[in-house]
Subunit: 584 residues, 2 copies
Amino acid sequence: MIIESIASPADVKRLSVEEMEKMAVEIRTLLIEKLSRHGGHCGPNLGMVEATIAMHYVFQSPQDKIVFDVSHQSYTHKMLTGRVGAFLKAENDDDVSGYSEPSESEHDHFIIGHTSTAVSLAGGLAKGRDLRGERGNVIAVVGDGSLSGGEALEGLDWAAELGSNFIIVVNDNQMSIAENHGGLYRNLEELRRTNGTCPNNLFRAMGLDYVYVERGNDIAALIAAFQKVKDIDHPIVVHINTLKGKGFALAEKDKERWHWSAPFDKESGELLHPCTVETYDELTAVHLLELMGQDKGICAITAGTPGVWNWTPERRKAAGRQFVDVGIAEEHAVALASGIAKAGGKPVFGVCSSFIQRAYDQLSQDLCINDNPATILVMWGSLSTMTDVTHLCHFDIPLLSNIPNLVYLAPTNREEYLAMLDWSINYREHPVAIRVPVGPTKAATRPTATDFSALNRYEVVEQGRDVAILALGNFFSLGERVCHLLKEQGVHATLVNPRYISGIDGDLLCRLSEDHRLVVTLEDGALEGGFGEKIARYYGATAVRTLCYGAKKEFVDRYVPKDFLAANRLVDTMIAEDIVGLLD
Amino acid sequence: MIIESIASPADVKRLSVEEMEKMAVEIRTLLIEKLSRHGGHCGPNLGMVEATIAMHYVFQSPQDKIVFDVSHQSYTHKMLTGRVGAFLKAENDDDVSGYSEPSESEHDHFIIGHTSTAVSLAGGLAKGRDLRGERGNVIAVVGDGSLSGGEALEGLDWAAELGSNFIIVVNDNQMSIAENHGGLYRNLEELRRTNGTCPNNLFRAMGLDYVYVERGNDIAALIAAFQKVKDIDHPIVVHINTLKGKGFALAEKDKERWHWSAPFDKESGELLHPCTVETYDELTAVHLLELMGQDKGICAITAGTPGVWNWTPERRKAAGRQFVDVGIAEEHAVALASGIAKAGGKPVFGVCSSFIQRAYDQLSQDLCINDNPATILVMWGSLSTMTDVTHLCHFDIPLLSNIPNLVYLAPTNREEYLAMLDWSINYREHPVAIRVPVGPTKAATRPTATDFSALNRYEVVEQGRDVAILALGNFFSLGERVCHLLKEQGVHATLVNPRYISGIDGDLLCRLSEDHRLVVTLEDGALEGGFGEKIARYYGATAVRTLCYGAKKEFVDRYVPKDFLAANRLVDTMIAEDIVGLLD
């Protein structure tokens, strides 16, 4: 294969167009092979094969710097920059990450996983180049739905003032993760229809120069376009029209399904390990759709990620105007929810833990200062869900639980979650966020409250003495297991389901201090700024000792959850051992 | 005066255009009187008098809902909605806030102080209206530099999909707080020049209908425009060309100086209580400008608020390309800084504590995961600076100090601040944020370190026993006073300057536990998620007791700092009393 002979971009430059076209076919074959056995981003990578080859043919990486937005479309770039080995055999699949990664290669400049960041980051490279009097092209590759994010639009607006070389490649594959949303995508459509000539042009309106490439999967056309803008002395947008999923028929046909996939059979497209149990994501969509039928004020909101809570195209259609996809625009989603709640509607914004942090100011200012009763469903918040450093779901507790007025709840089982969700939708006093449990649903084994209006009342599940375990949300079952181990050693611990992440039950904590020497907190997230520290502070001036369990402050990447939990002593036997040691 | 007879918008509707014009003059007189004696936003309010009158003439508030972005231009709206009393006499000046405030009036729908939020919030009102099958106009008033903010651009993009009544008034006064920055403002200029007819149009490119009003301070013209769009069945932008500061010659001339002002003499424009001492803001700009002359890699960045750190127009000019104003776009500013640092430049982003929270995800993802060595100067972080609920500077410690890789420093005096700043600019290991002290500069009374590379080493300023006081940043002097009071009572406390907000000095804390029974933390910010709780957690399992001082979790509005500090027991005598009580 030609691709196996590519050790660096210099080798690309030696190829003819025909050879590059042949190599594109090889790359697609390798992509589909690896994606099917390993899982990963299908559509975005398959659509960008030719453009990536053409960029490396024309530009001089790493002196010329290419920055991929979201960077989940950088697999071809990795193959062309000395990392093809990670795409040839299953045993090397994990040699590279799924995103750009400077520690892998001098051709990668940032670790990027969140959307809409590349124009600003690459803009910084361009500005740094200018400050230092250096030369070279800086190329930002954006698209795949990321243009609707505020940071990308801020970056485009700013770029017009740079006044020096800056090339912004807009990969227009006509899709986000789901279909695109927002008016600007209509302008892209008009630009495509008019071969880039329509007078109204978002990029020109932002003050940028512009060129259109209709055949965005044609290597020769792309090379010609990039050669024209190479070494340009001002910022320019190169709008390329690509086909998401190109070369894999299933992915070309159902672009949303094939944006990302777990390992699959490449003939049938069936998942190799399909989910056969009810998950909280699935439960959420099913339940909300049912509620919507009864209450026309309920409105589910997503910011470009309906799959995070299993809003399939069919369900979205069934919900009609009660389902809103704002595109990748979390800030807008939170403020919109606040406005809907103010107008008497019942908004429910479902969002992945890793992405809710894109809207901190909106949570604080637009929602919580105004105390409007919107519901935020924080999905996947846990140390055991997403393990790429750019998508960690560790930080939502510190982020949300310290905002005044917000009630942040941590249900521990299926029935408690549904009760909290039903309550929250109709509660009118404060905004409520719910940290939706992760994994398969778990049935309640004790009666469930239905009214959570008396805030910050923890539930004592088991009354013991000497040691109390405050086991939050996902970690309630860990608390149960610790209690069981302690009982085997003759310690009858009190087990508490705190339910409220965002507030302290002073009455209960005070009562506990009467016959407990130690209070232990367990939280499935980052420790610093989180729940346990509030308990430690509460007891700080008393004789009650505290032990807080959670993850220590660090960015970890591609970890094995089991090992990570053990490294943080988040294991029942370790915790029981610590407790017994302290009680002695 | 006519304005005194306006009890509600119904009274506006009874006026002739001539009477409204007369009233506009009265309103301006009242505005200038109140602003001169009380301080407040001058330019924004003076420019919006006619448009506000015309809106209340045409629309039926509160059934029709008007939402002001930033809402610092809503004074005329307040006068026309039953609150003129707060503008007539000095003793009533504080009867209303400087922002829209639902608790004051049914004509205000949100508490708004941060920029770029109105399209999304008002969009939510429109969506809520539609969900509930209600009617009425929803009007968002944006402008004054706020269009460059990502949230506003996300909102505009989304609005195109609403498909029902939504009127977005773009108040184009050709300014932000300082001059506008970004390519989109060139498009506004082109639209003004062509009377709204140029084919390239940002708003149309975003999928929105559009109309232009050249005479944005002409009541009759505005009424005609608003009447045309009233009850429209789809979203439309009404672009009005206004004069910032209109009617106050000084403000028309120097728009930046007169965006906001402390009380002033209305003839000369001189401040009534000019600052006569060196402040940390001033020190920062002077020092950085000097450093820039020696090092061309240093680049100061502001997000539309150069005044926050005293970058006057003259200084910006002197800095040349080493000063970048990205416009109101904090997300972009942080990502840009990361990119510049990656390219070998030395970016310094100066930003008010209240506004850094607009860029949490960029701090985490773009900056800290990439571990690029940018410097962030957090200005005004304190419980005693901005007291409007929308501008509280309480939350930066919980927000920043829990992000991995970020070194967050808290200098305690002038020399220590400069040493940290100098060190940070040349440090290449991690991003560094500095919580710049507030108020007049204070000279060091002890030797100052110059190298802070050995992270998380606290400074023991006074070695005592039994009790140790960890007095952070601004509150170091409070710690000194507490120690002094304790000494009078025979307690020789240890006084520690932690210096590092974001990390624990385990060695020192362990040593302290040998001969200290109590460790007290003092921080000038919100308690929950902050510095003290980390110390409480550290000592949780030991015999050392802890007491954490800071502000309890709440949104407070227009408070008197002294009273607020006392309510949180942030007073030397109270703290000393608590300590003595606990030691006994």
